[in-house]
């Protein structure tokens, strides 16, 4: 196992980045009291939109933009449904996840006439930071990565600080902690929840773009393959606190990268498959996390807090 190689660090970052963006989306929703498990589907849609956008505009940045915008749009279903109409976010999420799988596969056939995967020669991937190649240490780690990788940490830091210091952040946290109280002070709960969910959609768009145009340059049916669910678990793990997300997500990245490398010393491939989930579960148990009642209620049961009268 070459755990101590910089290559390993790079692999960890690569595996963690899409999860980081998705998890940030989940954490922001959690802060606003919306239990968002639609990340998997939104990321998948983002990946498809990124590839389609890059293919049609001929530019990876066009792909990224398409992914961000269209995934934000896609997340409006959850935003309006759960936040404004007070429908059960879990059911909507399950629906949209299925919808994303279907729609991407469907459009793959209808738009590009292929099934399975789509990676035409002219498809533009996001540029790698090759200019770093000769920098010691940094080079081997980042030169093969897109700019979205370091950007993830910037965005998360910004989000964390924003939540702490800005008026909107304060209000958002209040909305999540006690919607009725927020409402009685004239803070429009639904509006905050709606917007935070849509911003989350945009973030999932970035996650998908990084996955489809950064980690690789291709779209494959169901290519998120559970990464969105790992993100949900990450949000659980940190109790929705963005600033802790890097720890959790890099943990998953390490788990996956490590699992892959375990094959090198003869571990069966099935162990690789199970590793990230098993480690997540063990960490969850180890930390014996207990979310605040309200959020647990949202998480453990469908009983949404009774609408602000």
């Amino acid at each position: 196992m070459h755990v101590f190689e910089l290559g390993f660090v790079a692999a960890v970052l690569l595996a963690a980045t899409p999860i980081l963006y998705a998890a940030l989306a989940g954490a922001l929703s959690a802060q606003a009291g919306v239990f968002n498990i639609a990340l998997e589907g939104q990321m998948l849609w983002g990946a498809f939109a990124a590839v389609a956008g890059s293919y049609y505009t001929g530019s990876a940045w066009g792909g990224l933009l398409t992914a961000v915008l269209s995934t934000a749009l896609f997340s409006v279903i959850l935003a309006v449904g759960a936040a404004r109409w007070k429908a059960d976010p879990i059911i909507i999420a399950i629906g949209t996840n299925l919808l994303a799988i279907g729609l991407t596969g469907f459009l793959l056939r209808v738009l590009f006439g292929v099934s399975g995967s789509f990676s035409p020669r002219e498809l533009q991937g996001l540029p790698k930071m090759t200019f770093l190649t000769d920098v010691p240490v940094i080079g081997p780690i980042f030169s093969g990565q897109t700019v979205l990788v370091p950007f993830a940490f910037v965005v998360i830091a910004a989000a964390g600080i924003w939540l702490k210091v800005s008026p909107a952040g304060l209000r958002l946290r209040g909305v999540g902690e006690h919607p009725d109280a927020a409402a009685s002070l004239g803070v429009e709960v639904a509006r905050y929840q709606t917007w935070v969910t849509i911003v989350g959609g945009a973030l999932c768009g970035i996650a998908g773009a990084q996955l489809a145009l950064g980690n690789v340059t291709v779209f494959t049916e169901n290519m998120t393959a559970g990464r969105g669910w790992i993100a949900v678990a990450a949000v659980m793990l940190v109790g929705g606190r963005p600033l802790w997300l890097p720890v959790a997500c890099l943990g998953f990245g390490a788990a996956e990268a490590l699992g892959f490398r375990l094959q090198g010393i003869g571990a069966p491939q099935q162990l690789t498959d199970a590793a990230p989930y098993a480690i997540t579960l063990l960490v969850l148990i180890a930390t014996r996390i207990r979310l605040p009642r309200r959020r647990t209620a949202a998480a453990v049961t469908t009983s949404a807090p009774t609408p602000a009268a």
């Binding site: 595996a15 399975g116 393959a225 094959q263 090198g264």
Partner: protein, 327 residues
């Protein structure tokens, strides 16, 4: 996800063809380029023998059975089944429907009924040759394989590759990484990560046997400078400058021949398409290497050596063991 069923892929002709062919795949063709080859081959055969072609894509064993029943109801000239996964169902169906002709591609029954013809491939002979090339070309004396899953069948792209490499370069180190995950035959991201690991481990020649995932392997090659081998078709075109050669599999040839035989009335038994039969080969050993975009074109010496080994295999001087039968 929807259950088993069928997709009419632009039938070669409409209802009024002399013959009809129904091809049943064990899983959706998706990004599995071998299944893609099979359906292309079926269409080719359709063109050649004026047959309408239907491709039924299954999702799982039950839907294989269901597609098979549907096919039998259609009473086509030939029902073609691809891969080991359909063996059970086809063996039974052939026994139950003596008047229906069945053709198995890539697998064969122990004691088949006369209406059950089979065509199998000796991919392992071709992979042995890519191994030889890798063994000759490697500078780091370190070669590896990225394979979709750790199944016996897929070892046909692993063990012979090692054997071939060792045959010309006894000291060469070998290692394999499996893609696995939710989508082993199509997850380029995971395939790429696996290839990256081999590269980190000092491997400089990689046999890509990850089906749809190969794209990921080629990307890794482009980024970290190792060279790859493709499978089934000329994948050099997908990623010029990164792919050395391909262990190609002439499913089309085999399929067209077998269909022809059956239509001519010679049914039953099975043909094994190896190097000798021209059923498998290397791009580098075919005509038009020059414009195949394969790196091997720049190594005429290697091609020469490989050609020699090929001839030894054909003549039986060298016997490549089949991992499947080897257990």
């Amino acid at each position: 996800s929807s259950s088993g069923g069928a997709s009419s892929t632009g039938a070669a002709g409409d209802g009024d063809n002399a013959n009809s062919i129904i091809l049943i795949t064990p899983t959706p063709i998706g990004s599995n380029n071998f299944l893609q080859l099979a359906s292309d081959g079926a269409k080719e055969a359709g063109e050649k023998y004026d047959a309408s072609v239907d491709v039924y894509e299954s999702e799982d064993p039950t839907s294989i059975q269901q597609n098979l029943d549907a096919a039998i109801r259609e009473k086509p000239s030939i029902i073609i089944g691809v891969s080991f996964s359909v063996l059970d169902q086809f063996t039974e169906a052939a026994a139950d429907n003596p008047d229906q002709q069945f053709l198995l591609i890539d697998t064969s029954a122990e004691n088949p009924t006369p209406n059950l013809t089979a065509a199998t491939f000796k991919e392992y002979e071709a992979t042995y040759l890519t191994g030889v090339e890798a063994g000759l070309l490697t500078q780091k004396n370190n070669v590896g394989v990225v394979a979709a899953l750790d199944t016996p069948f897929i070892h046909r792209w692993i063990d012979p590759f090692y054997a071939g490499a060792k045959s010309v370069n006894p000291g060469v180190a070998t290692s394999a990484q499996f893609v696995g995950g939710d989508n082993p035959f199509g997850d380029q991201a995971r395939a790429k990560a696996q290839a990256q690991i081999l590269a980190d481990g000092g491997v400089d020649y990689v046999q890509a046997a990850a089906s749809g995932g190969n794209t990921g392997v080629f990307e890794a090659a482009a980024e970290s400078g190792f060279k790859a081998f493709g499978v089934d078709t000329n994948q050099c075109l997908e990623s010029p400058g990164n792919v050395v050669d391909n262990a190609i599999k002439r499913v089309d040839v085999a399929l067209v021949n077998s269909v022809g035989d059956i239509l001519d009335g010679t049914t039953g038994g099975f043909t094994s398409y190896g190097l000798a039969e021209g059923g498998v080969s290397l791009t580098g050993l075919e005509d038009g290497v020059a414009d195949s975009q394969c790196l091997i074109a720049d190594h005429p010496d290697v091609i020469e050596k490989v050609a020699a080994v090929r001839d030894q295999i054909v003549s039986g001087q060298v016997v490549v063991t089949d991992p499947l039968t080897a257990g």
